[in-house]
Subunit: 487 residues, 2 copies
C-alpha cells in the first residue's frame, strides 16, 4: 500500500459528513430529473472507467485485501457488467412500474373512478455501507451504488476500512464520470469511519440505507435507522449459514463429486463469501464423510485482514470447543477446516452451533434417517440460500425443497450456492437475519426496487405530468393500463 | 347494540391469542398451497357473504359507529368490490412477478449463468390492526385482510374497539366461507383488546403487520415490530394533514366551487377520513375566505365514538389556542370548524400547527404572495395526499406539483382527496408519518405486494417446481423471460 494513498483516507470529520449529506440532498432533485438516457450513460461511464483503470485498481485491491489476482480480475469484470446491466434496466423503464387508470364513470366500486397515473420515483439520498469481502462488487461501485444511482438517488458510500485506498480511487473515478456527464455535484459522496457512517445514517436528509456485513454490526445500524424520528428503510444483509442437505441417494451415488464441490465452496476466497455453505447435512457412515476424511489439506489463501481473521477465529472457537464437535479434516493456518457433529447435537444446542463462521470452515452434520434430516431442515430459518443434493424421484428431496422455500431466498438443486450470478431473476435475500427486508434483493436487476416509491397523479393535465405518464408516452416505457399487462 | 353480541366480545385472553397464532402458523403452508382459483373463490365468497348479510351488518354498524346509513351502504359496496378485485388480481397471477433466466454459458458477467426461476411466495401469518373510521373497508374484511388473504397469508385481525359486535359478525362470515371453501382452520382469526394485539405482534410466528390509526399508537407498535429478536415488516398508515394549495388564479376564478368542495371534504363522515384536508392555503383577502366566512353552519353528524371525539377535541385545542389562530366559521357541536392563520405563523410554529385533527376541522392558511405559498408547500412532508387548485398555464402551479410529488403518495389536481378509489393505479401511502413503509400502498391492487417475498429456484428439475415456474406454465401466469417483458 502506498504511503500517499493511506494518508489520504483518514476518517471523515463531522463537518465533512454534514457537507456530504447536504450536497446529496441538494443533488436529489436535479439528479432524479436527469433523463433515463443520461442516467444510463453515467452507469455505463463508470463501468468503462473501471475497466480502463483495471490494472491499477486490481493492484490496489491485491495490496489491501490479500485476494488473488484471478479472483479480483473476475470480480472487476462482474462489477462493470453489473453497472451496464443496470444501465439497460434504466433504459428499459420497467422499473418505473407505470400504471394508468383511465377515468371510469361506471366503476363498479359504486363511485366514479378518477384518472390515476402512477409511477415509481427515487426515494432520495441513499447511504451504502460497503462490504469487506468484495472490494469491487459489494463496495464503492458495487451493486448497492449501481442500483441506487439507477433508481435516480444520490449515493453516499461509507467505505469499508479494509480497502481504503481502493475505495478512494474508485470514488474518484465515479466523481469524474458524474461530472463529465453533467450530473449535479453531490450525486455521489464517500465517507470514512464508523462515526461518520452513524452520523450520516441519523441525518434527516438520508432516505434509505444499504448494508452488507455482520449480524451484530448490521442489527445495531438497523436499530438506529428504525429509531430515527423519521424511520427509513434499512436493507441489510446480515449473515447466513447456507445449509446444504445431502440425501442418502446423493451421498451414495455421487460422494466424490459432492466432496470435491464442498471443498471448493468452503475454501475459495478463503471462505469469505456470504453464500459459503456453513452447515452440510450428510448421512452417518456416509461415503461423503469418508472422502472428506481422506482429504489432506485444502489451501485457502490468506484472509482479508486481521479483523476478519479474528472474527473467524472466534466464531470457529465457539463451535470447535463444543464437546460433541470434532475436527474431521484441516484446520491448520491457511487451510480449510471441516468440523463434524450429529443432528441430535445441533438440535439440542442450536444457538451454540448454528451461527455463521465467516471464513474457510464448515460443520458437517450427520443424520441417522430421513426423519432426522427433515427435522434438521425444518429447524433452520433466515437463510440466503438452501442447497439440496438429491434425486428427483426421492420423496425426501421433495420435502426438503418445500421446506427450503420457506427458509431461504434462493433454493439450489445439486449445485453450490457460491458464485452468485447477476441476472434478471436473481434473489439475494431471505428471511431475517439473511436480510432485514425479506421482500428485497441486493443482487440482480430487482435490487433497484429498494430505492423507489410510487406516486399517483390524480386528474393532472397531460402537459404537467412527467413524460413517462403522458398520453403520448414519448420515452416508450412499458405501462399497465386499466389493469391490463404492461406493453 | 344487542346484549348477546356485546357479551361475546370481551378481550381475548393470552391463551386464546397463543392458540389463534398457533392455528395461523399451522395454516400457513396449506393455505399458501391452495390453488389460485381456490384463493379467488374464498375472496369472492366473502364478498358474496357480506352482500347477502348487508342489512344486518349495516344495522350493527349504525349502532356502533354513528355513521349514516347511505355512507355505510356505500362502504359495504366498496368492501365487497375490493374483495372481488383482489380475487381478479389473484387469478391474473401478475402479483407473482415470475422471472425466468435460462441457463446461459456466454453470460457476459464472465461466468456461466445458471437457470434461475423466481416467483413471489406468501410471507406467513399477517396481523391486521383494524381501523375505527371504516368499519367495513378498513376493518375485519377490509383491504388489509383482502390483500393478505390474496397473497396467500393467514390473517389475524385485531378488532377495533369501536365496533366489536360488527367485527364479530363479519369474522364469523369469513370463517364460514373459509370452511365452506376447504381452507385450513386458522387461515383467519379475530382477537380483541390492546394487550392481545401486542402479544400477537411480538409472537415469533407472526410475519408482518398492517395498521391504520394514530401516529402515536402506530409508532409504538412499529417500534415493537422493529425491536423483536426477528424484526418483521410493519405497514402502518399513521396520519396525514393532506394539504391543499389554492393558487391566486384558482381563488379568483373559482371561489364558490372551491369553498363548497372544501366544506364537503371537511364535513363528510364528520371529517374522520385519513385523507381529509387539514390545511388549506389560500391568498390573503381571498374570495375563498369571503365565501367561507359567509358560511353559517355546516352540519357534520356525530363522531364515531367518545374516544375519537376526545382525541379530536384535544388536537383542535392545540391549534385553536394558538394566539395567532382565529375561528373563521363554525365550531359549535355537530358542525364543521374552520380556523385561520397566516403562513408566517405556520412556518414559525410548525410543530404546534401542523398536526392531524382527526375530525371535521381544517386550518386555512393565508399567504401574501407566490414565494410564501411555495415556501409553505416545501415545508410540509410525509403526506398521503397533496392537492393543488390552479391553472395549467401558471408557473407557480407547476412548481407546486413538482414539490408535491416529493412530499406525498398521491398528488391531485383541482380535486379533493377524500373519496379514495380502489383501483389498479391507486397509491395510498407516502413518506413517514403518512406510512412507515413509503414504497407500499394499503389501497389498490398493489397492496398485495406487502405480504410477499421472492424465492429463486436454481437448476431445480421442472417436475419439482411450483406449477407457475414450470416450462409448460399450466396456469398461464404472466412471466418475464431473460429480462424481456412479462407476457
Amino acid at each position: 500500500m502506498t504511503g500517499i494513498l493511506v494518508e489520504s483516507v483518514t476518517d471523515t470529520t463531522s463537518d465533512e459528513v454534514a457537507a456530504t449529506v447536504a450536497a446529496a440532498a441538494a443533488a436529489a432533485r436535479p439528479w432524479a430529473a436527469m433523463s433515463l438516457a443520461d442516467r444510463a450513460r453515467v452507469l455505463d461511464g463508470i463501468a468503462d472507467a473501471l475497466d480502463a483503470h483495471a490494472a491499477q485498481l486490481i493492484a490496489l485491491a491485491m495490496r489491501e485485501t490479500n485476494l488473488a489476482e484471478p479472483r479480483l480480475v473476475g470480480e472487476l469484470r462482474r462489477t462493470s457488467f453489473q453497472l451496464r446491466l443496470f444501465a439497460q434496466t434504466v433504459l428499459d423503464g420497467g422499473f418505473l412500474d407505470v400504471r394508468i387508470d383511465d377515468a371510469d364513470a361506471d366503476w363498479p366500486m359504486g363511485a366514479p373512478r378518477p384518472e390515476l397515473r402512477r409511477m415509481n420515483i427515487p426515494l432520495g439520498p441513499v447511504l451504502n455501507f460497503a462490504a469487506s469481502n468484495f472490494p469491487f462488487a459489494f463496495s464503492v461501485a458495487g451493486g448497492d451504488t449501481a442500483s441506487a444511482l439507477a433508481a435516480g438517488c444520490p449515493v453516499i458510500v461509507k467505505a469499508n476500512p479494509g480497502h481504503p485506498a481502493l475505495s478512494s480511487a474508485v470514488g474518484e473515478l465515479i466523481e469524474t464520470v458524474l461530472a463529465e456527464c453533467g450530473a449535479p455535484r453531490g450525486s455521489f459522496g464517500l465517507i470514512f469511519g464508523r462515526n461518520a457512517g452513524v452520523q450520516a445514517l441519523t441525518h434527516p436528509a438520508v432516505a434509505a440505507v444499504a448494508f452488507t456485513g455482520s449480524t451484530a454490526g448490521g442489527r445495531a445500524l438497523y436499530d438506529l435507522a428504525c429509531g430515527r424520528p423519521v424511520p427509513i428503510p434499512f436493507y441489510g444483509e446480515l449473515g447466513s449459514i447456507n445449509p446444504v442437505f445431502v440425501t442418502a441417494d446423493a451421498a451414495r451415488s455421487r460422494a466424490p463429486e459432492i466432496a470435491a464441490g464442498l471443498l471448493t465452496a468452503v475454501s475459495s476466497s478463503a471462505g469469505q463469501l456470504c453464500t459459503k455453505p456453513g452447515l452440510v447435512a450428510v448421512p452417518e457412515q456416509s461415503p461423503v464423510l469418508d472422502e472428506l476424511t481422506r482429504t489432506a489439506s485444502v489451501p485457502t489463501g490468506e484472509m482479508l485482514n486481521e479483523t476478519i481473521a479474528a472474527g473467524f477465529a472466534s466464531a470457529v472457537a465457539r463451535v470447535r470447543e463444543h464437546p460433541e464437535v470434532r475436527v474431521l479434516a484441516g484446520g491448520s493456518p491457511g487451510e480449510a477446516l471441516l468440523l463434524v457433529t450429529s443432528t441430535r447435537t445441533v438440535l439440542a444446542d442450536r444457538d451454540a452451533l448454528m451461527h455463521e463462521m465467516f471464513g474457510p470452515a464448515t460443520l458437517l452434520v450427520t443424520y441417522r434417517d430421513n426423519d432426522e434430516l427433515l427435522e434438521l431442515a425444518r429447524s433452520v430459518h433466515g437463510e440466503l440460500t438452501v442447497s439440496i443434493f438429491g434425486d428427483h424421484t426421492d420423496d425426501t428431496a421433495h420435502a426438503l425443497l418445500s421446506t427450503a422455500a420457506g427458509t431461504a431466498g434462493r433454493v439450489l438443486w445439486n449445485s453450490w450456492p457460491t458464485g452468485l450470478s447477476v441476472t434478471y431473476a436473481q434473489q439475494h435475500g431471505g428471511p431475517y437475519p439473511a436480510t432485514t427486508a425479506p421482500a428485497t434483493t441486493s443482487v440482480g436487476t430487482a435490487a433497484i426496487a429498494r430505492f423507489l416509491r410510487p406516486v399517483a397523479f390524480q386528474s393532472v393535465p397531460d402537459e404537467m405530468l412527467p413524460p413517462q405518464l403522458r398520453i403520448a408516452n414519448p420515452l416508450g416505457v412499458p405501462r399497465s393500463v386499466n389493469g391490463a399487462r404492461a406493453q
